[in-house]
């Protein structure tokens, strides 16, 4: 009998609700090796985007992720507007910030609940999600839907906020601020929580930089980088805010960064609503996008999301490339898992706030020595899948 146990986790496992496969090699309860497999839920969105018009793409790209749908949609409209060289009205930029930051609150509260659940703190999970309903209701009030808000359109936003909605939002923010402060206090005071996250999943600053970690994962290790400040988009260059970092470099650091960012997001929304410029919310844009390319970056709740777009003068983009923050953070996950306890797997994996469906890639397996991949056309591909079935 070998000393090492191989423990498969995923693609179906209560640890993650999304399909990813981890193969752990355990020495007792200690992790000695880990292998990560992606590709269970590849949806081919980038290719599909090339076959649709820009307006159609917007809604499809919004559906890359359920939680950060505004992220990808904003990235897409920013890229399209960049190629078109459209001047977006300032009110629209502020409204994008408002929805984006509400989404950040929603995502971080959701994460806090998930983190609680992963370490068996179900009460935190339930109450954090209960209070997340407040921000969900606000998003529904402003945009019309709880998820996949459909707020963006190329050249601006689709829905304006009237004074009643602004007042309602400010009222909701007050509740959220009080609740978030309470959670910030609870997670720092609860000794069983601290015992499970402090010193767990260490990610030193240099490793975080080398492995290309982004967002709260990097900021929890003291990497002072935030796209909102360093390469401002939308209206962030006009809004003062702090970039939260923590030098702890463990799961606790990542948790504290997220909780503090939630409080910061509330301040950003307040500022944006108080300084909401007057004017139109959208401009008309031509349907055909000229030849050109644009690289849009967005600080998603999980980290920096990137979208590259190339126009070719038609109604359809020539190429759309999306890099979701989870893909960047997955590299660092191996380092954080090594030499940790089996019991810490869930919280370490959850600490990067993984969103696998956004990040899924196809792996092309090649014969050793061959230099070409096999290219299958649709009909051939379909034929093969049918042949397999028989």
């Amino acid at each position: 009998m070998s000393e090492h146990i191989t423990l498969p986790i995923g693609p179906q496992h209560p640890l993650l609700k999304e399909p990813v496969h981890f193969k752990f090699t355990l020495d007792g309860e200690r992790i000695v090796d880990v292998d990560i497999r992606l590709g269970y839920n590849h949806r081919g969105i980038e290719k599909a985007a090339e076959e649709r018009t820009y307006v159609q793409d917007l809604y499809m790209i919004e559906r890359i992720c359920g939680i950060c749908s505004h992220v990808h949609a904003t990235n897409f409209v920013q890229a399209t507007e960049g190629v078109l060289k459209t001047e977006v009205p300032p009110r629209a930029l502020y409204l994008r910030v408002v929805v984006g930051e509400l989404e950040r609150i929603h995502s971080h509260l959701l994460w806090l609940g998930i983190a609680g659940h992963e370490i068996g703190f179900d009460t935190l999970f339930q109450v954090a999600w209960r209070d997340r309903e407040v921000v969900q209701d606000l998003l529904e009030l402003i945009t019309g839907n709880r998820v996949n808000y459909g707020m963006n359109t190329i050249g601006g936003v689709r829905k304006d906020m009237d004074p009643a909605e602004i007042e309602e939002t400010l009222k909701g923010l007050k509740v959220l601020e009080e609740r978030t402060n309470y959670y910030a206090q609870v997670v720092q005071a609860e000794s069983t929580f601290i015992a499970r996250v402090s010193g767990v999943g260490p990610l030193p600053k240099d490793v975080a930089i080398v492995s290309g970690a982004v967002g709260p994962t990097a900021r929890g290790s003291g990497v002072d980088y935030d796209v909102r400040r360093d390469l401002p988009y939308a209206a962030y260059n006009e809004i003062p805010f702090r970039v939260i970092t923590s030098d702890l470099g463990d799961v606790l650091g990542r948790a504290l960064v997220r909780v503090q960012e939630t409080i910061e997001a509330i301040r950003i929304i307040r500022y944006a609503l108080e300084h909401l410029p007057v004017g139109p919310i959208a401009v008309r844009v031509p349907r055909k996008v000229p030849v050109g390319e644009y690289f849009s970056r967005y600080e998603a709740p999980r980290g920096e999301a990137i979208l590259y777009l190339r126009g070719n003068g038609t109604e359809r983009p020539d190429r759309v490339k999306v890099r979701a923050p989870t893909l960047a953070n997955l590299v660092s996950i191996r380092h954080t898992l090594l030499n940790q306890q089996l019991a810490d797997i869930p919280i370490i994996v959850a600490a990067i706030d993984p969103c696998l469906s956004c990040t899924d890639r196809v792996v092309l397996l090649q014969q050793v020595g061959s230099h070409e991949g096999e290219i299958l056309h649709w009909a051939e591909f379909r034929q093969r899948s049918l042949a397999k079935k028989l």
């Binding site: 076959e51 307006v55 009460t123 109450v127 945009t143 019309g144 069983t192 601290i194 504290l256």
Partner: protein, 151 residues
């Protein structure tokens, strides 16, 4: 972040309060949800709206859920396939005559697939009273015959 004194059960205040609270759960079928004004439910076609058959909705629909077909002189039939619809509301936005709108109807699950497709015919145009000059906007959207998008 100041050092906080840690103890087990730091959330005690919240759980003690919760015991006296009414559960936060909304008992859905009995308790109706609040739907905001912007809510995007089942798209509806207004037969009196005067659809001009510009096909902008068909062209912009991301999921191929809306069909417009001509059934008579200035009379069009609109079919929504709710199984395809993603409720983005782009058809309502694109519609030049604002004939399509998003209703607040959201309980659309069905056992039979065919019930998910519904067709509304627009009313026949009213008899001509006087020659009215169409507005520039109408001219812009009366672009007939857009080549069918490849699906």
């Amino acid at each position: 972040m100041s050092k906080v004194h840690t103890r087990p059960g730091a959330i005690w205040r919240e759980i003690t309060k919760n015991l006296g609270r009414k559960p936060a759960t909304r008992m859905y079928p009995k308790e109706r949800p609040f739907l905001p004004a912007n809510f995007r439910g089942r798209p509806v076609f207004n037969p009196q709206g005067g659809c001009v058959g510009c096909m902008l909705c068909v062209r912009d629909c991301p999921s191929d859920a809306v069909k417009i077909s001509k059934i008579g002189e200035k009379q069009f039939s609109c079919t929504f396939n709710l199984a395809n619809c993603i409720y983005c509301g782009q058809c309502a936005d694109s519609c030049a005559k604002k004939v399509i709108s998003m209703s607040k109807e959201f309980e659309l699950a069905a056992f039979v697939r065919s019930t998910l497709t519904n067709t509304t015919d627009s009313d026949p145009p009213p008899p001509k009273v006087a020659e009215t000059k169409p507005s520039s906007e109408e001219v812009a959207c009366e672009t007939p015959e857009i080549p069918e998008t490849k699906t």
